[in-house]
């Protein structure tokens, strides 16, 4: 029985590192504005203005990529723990303190797994699909602000950009489903397309509800419009409009679940019906890509919801990236909590929910909000 001992040794050695890393991560997030300011100043002093901007953006991209690539690793562990405790289990316990290193172990395992490309499939599409899916999920992070000025690109049409680029993911899923030459994958891809087409509409309507109230598509402006915290003239959107925004928030959250293919809307990969749906034929790193994309998309949805309705980085007592991080983490937790509680909808019920309930309510909310906004102005 040598092996477990070695395991224990490794995890004993690595655990403090991970805990220290997590602590450092939180501190870094809390101090992000100051760090960014310092770097900006340093770069401005060292380089000519054009190059300083380029270097600044490059560093931002690097930091974001690093962040969003690390997040799934943490979230997967987090989800497994949430699942385990909802089910009276312990969850991963072996690798590191309460299994925090489990995702690293799984990642290494996936890296070393054989990349199976089955016979009779469309190789090019099969290879591109995971990349597209990851792009769709992670590309949107370019416009998500972590704090005032802490984002890669301050697009003035950021919301439009997010809606557009997340649709790429669905194309990737459709592509994966088609290219796999597997009937279950095909079903998964088709279901995903139907789901996306349907759920884009209420999402867009709810975004319009927010935009009507704020008057800008830029996420920075939206947060700025909620700058007073829980009370005051410019409080969080969730608490405004006599509770209408709560309805809007719920609809946005439901649509977010559907767009990230999370239970109860995980019909494209419905494990008990379609085996694994669109990624049945994938293995190794390509499978890991789908996994990363799923968790990236979860974070994105939660982050956007936090920005639109919960004031982004503006907290009741203090503000900053840490507040944003905690809000998003809470929303991600709610997603996981829902997943481990609810059964899965059927495909027609999923569409009925969208067309019969979400869209009419979202439309009504839009009309009422528009009316109230006009009255206010």
């Amino acid at each position: 029985m040598k092996r477990p001992a070695l395991e224990t040794k490794i995890s004993n050695f690595l655990s403090p590192l991970v805990v220290a890393g997590a602590g450092g991560f939180l501190v870094a997030i809390a101090l992000l504005p100051k760090i960014a300011e310092a770097i900006r100043a340093q770069l401005g002093a060292m380089l000519p203005p054009t190059w300083a901007t380029v270097a600044n953006i490059a560093l931002g991209v690097l930091a974001t990529v690093f962040l969003v690539a690390q997040l799934p690793i943490f979230l997967i562990w987090f989800e497994r723990k949430v699942a385990a405790h909802a089910q009276d289990r312990l969850g991963p316990m072996r690798v590191g303190w309460h299994g925090v290193l489990q995702s690293f172990a799984d990642g290494i395992k996936l890296l070393f797994k054989e990349d199976i490309i089955a016979d009779g499939i469309d190789r090019q599409l099969f290879r591109i699909a995971p990349v597209l899916v990851v792009m769709g999920a992670f590309g949107a992070f370019a416009v998500v602000p972590w704090g005032p000025g802490l984002l890669i690109s301050d697009l003035n049409i950021a919301l439009l950009y997010i809606v557009a680029i997340t649709s790429l993911g669905a194309i990737g899923i459709l592509m994966a489903g088609w290219a796999s030459n597997n009937k279950y994958s095909l079903y998964g891809g088709m279901r995903s397309a139907a789901q996306l087409v349907a759920y884009e509409i209420p999402t867009a309507l709810i975004i319009l509800v927010v935009v009507l109230q704020v008057g800008s598509l830029s996420l920075q402006d939206i947060v700025a419009a909620q700058g007073d915290g829980l009370l005051g003239e410019n409080r969080w959107l969730l608490t405004r409009m006599y509770g209408l925004n709560v309805v809007a928030f719920v609809i946005f959250f439901i649509c977010g679940l559907a767009e990230t293919n999370r239970n109860p809307f995980d019909i494209p990969e419905a494990e008990s019906e379609l085996v694994a749906g669109f990624h049945t034929e994938y293995s190794g790193m390509r499978f890991a890509f789908f996994f990363l994309a799923e968790y990236g998309a979860m974070w994105l949805v939660a982050g956007v919801a936090a920005i639109l309705f919960l004031g982004g980085w503006v907290g009741p007592y203090f503000s900053g990236p840490l507040v944003f991080f905690l809000k998003t983490l809470f929303l991600v937790f709610v997603q996981m909590w829902l997943r481990w509680t609810l059964p899965r909808l059927r495909v027609d019920q999923l569409l009925a929910l969208c067309w019969k309930y979400l869209i009419p309510i979202a439309l009504a909310a839009l009309v009422v909000v528009a009316g109230l906004s006009v009255q206010a102005s």
Binding site: Q87, W340, P343
Partner: protein
Amino acid sequence: MASQRVYKDLEPDTAYAFKPEDLEDDEMILNMGPQHPSTHGVLRIELKTDGEIVKDARPHLGYLHRNFEKHAENIDYQGVIPFTDRMDYVASMANSLTYAVAVEKLMAIEVGERVKSIRVLVSELQRIASHLLAIGTYGLDIGAFTPFLHCFREREKILDLFEWLCGARLLYNYNWVGGVSHDLPDGWTEKARQFLGEFAPVIEELDDLLSHNKIFTDRTATVGIIPPDLAVAYALSGPNLRGSGIKWDVRKEDPYCGYEKYDFEIPVGQGRYGPIGSCWDRYYVRVEEMRQSVRILHQALDKLPAEGDVHEKVPKRIKPNPGEAYARTETPRGELAFYIVSDGGLIPYRVKGRSPCFVSMSLFHEIARGEMIADIIAIIGSLDIVLGEIDR
């Protein structure tokens, strides 16, 4: 050596019942199983689909076929019991009980009161364990993972009790002809009572978590409807028959092991969220049956005779007179029956198992037609099949 063999033409032409040339333009053959997460074993179903709609379904059996009946013709009566355990491997107690009852009928053995009570105890505990598995995996089929593990947590306690009782967790070889293999250990009854006390609130919790959940009822209460006349025509039994609203339970109609002395209800499908005989009705009959089993268990623990030798009536040599007997009991999946023919020798001349899952599955194509792919999973799960018993 094996690598040199040529496995040629392994798939006969008849492997597919639907021919590609017979399909309409929009139709597709979807092969579900034998390796699929939700076919509850190695069942293979051929579906003719039009998009998500299933036009026709054809189950193919035999992937787990071991020809139990041929086995039984080659070993002595006692040796058959381990094989019956392996028919319905999630409710072994019930299977071996049926076989034991059948041989006892053939040999006209009347077992003692304590043996009867112990048999009621184990078969009702087994019913709870089996229904927990059925309900949990049904939740899993519909997409809810958590109820599955909550059910398994409780099932684990029953398996622990069984392991304490007879040393095995799944395949017990416990019910013997004329008795049971072990007497109850000291303190077993107290622990069984403790389990029953802990278990009752779990059913209520399960109701909140799964049974009455809107998504769950929407998924199950309008699909897979078996009208009562169809259920009778196909000789369904157990929860599947009762789900269609027919009050029929062998424990009441043809009592064995002294079931006539216990006071319990027969739950039937009420059609609470949709037509009677839907998947949800069958599911909820199982939930209700667990409540009734708890009632029976309390009574059985109260009535358990303090003294009695469990091996008293076990024959030294099982050698029935020539003849034949057909005995049935209510297993968790329905009426299991054994038809045993004896030629007066030490080994049975013929043992035929009438397995409830086999019968329920023969109905499947009738109710699957016109449903959606996701409903197929719901229907299979609600029929609660075990492939070990279908294929035997």
